[in-house]
Symmetry: C2
Subunit: 157 residues, 2 copies
DNA sequence: GCACAATACGTGTATATACTCTTAGTTATA
DNA sequence: TATAACTAAGAGTATATACACGTATTGTGC
């Protein structure tokens, strides 16, 4: 009986095309999942995730910063960043201390965190090269440009 | 004392530029966060998140499908999809039933789910228009093309 | 028909994400 | 100076994400 048209794994998503091909959100989330898993894979030997590496790098180069300022840099909710820091603190890679203004908390990279970062950066470069070589220099730069364009829509400063 | 160079909120991330400007993962995650929050904002009146809307649409147009086949369509881990469905099931928007092959579970959109979808789609269109108008038709299409290029790197079929 | 491989799925665990509400501390103002 | 407004952060809750491991079911080769 042809009624049970989809009672198998070869589902027909063809009519989904409009949405699937046009939705910026769906497509950027798909790409984000994939890219993240690729970077995570490269970073696995040192036990870091992509997001965590980005935090360590920002801390190494930004010095001692507050949670709110770091969250602005990453254009990320403050409470998200706060929770992202927890595993890093537990592992002893970052240190969170009180400021003179006792509302503020300052985050600092520890020596252990710096060591880890030294080991992680070459792995990051490999992932970087993988994507760049695959896409080609021009398309890669184009992508980065467009991603940065999108974020400009968010500027409230 | 100039030692306390960063003991304030105006942290200097300038030297982070190399990484921040070049890392595909960081930039796509930032853009993904922003785009997602934008779509979520438009969808809030109907109590749907962007990811959830994408699931409902796929189900409406794909019919009754298994978890694994749906996860492949979204290029998403099977267990992630499984958990994404939980809130939708709890709200009565999708129904999960056993197949003849008792390993399989078939997911179907309920009438309530269809109603919700009808109310949600116009909101999705508004978000869609927002981004498209901002970027311009050409850049928008370019972005979608590049996101889809990235995913081709993942093809193992 | 049975042993083994392959398939489909769930659970446990951990990170990533953001909204709402609350608390504590600081600054501005009447 | 007392109070209101503002700023910085935490906690509660809920969704999104994926890996490792385990279990049940089905298919296959002999």
């Amino acid at each position: 009986m042809k009624i049970m048209r989809e009672q198998n794994s070869n589902a027909d998503f063809s009519r989904t095309t409009d949405y699937a091909a046009e939705c910026a959100c769906l497509n950027i989330r798909k790409a984000s999942r994939f890219i993240t898993s690729l970077y995570d894979e490269y970073l696995r030997p040192v036990g870091l995730r992509a997001t965590q590496l980005s935090l360590l790098i920002a801390l190494e180069q930004g010095g001692s910063v507050t949670i709110t300022s770091l969250s602005k840099f990453f254009q990320m909710d403050r409470t998200t960043l706060s929770r992202d820091l927890k595993p890093l603190e537990r592992q002893g890679w970052v240190l969170i201390t009180e400021g003179e203004d006792r509302r503020k908390r300052f985050i600092t990279l520890t020596p252990d965190g710096q060591d880890l970062l030294k080991r992680a950066l070459p792995l990051w470069e490999q992932a970087q090269i993988r994507i760049r070589d695959y896409m080609g220099e021009d398309r890669y730069k184009g992508l980065l440009g467009q991603l940065s364009d999108i974020l400009k829509l968010n500027r409230r400063d």
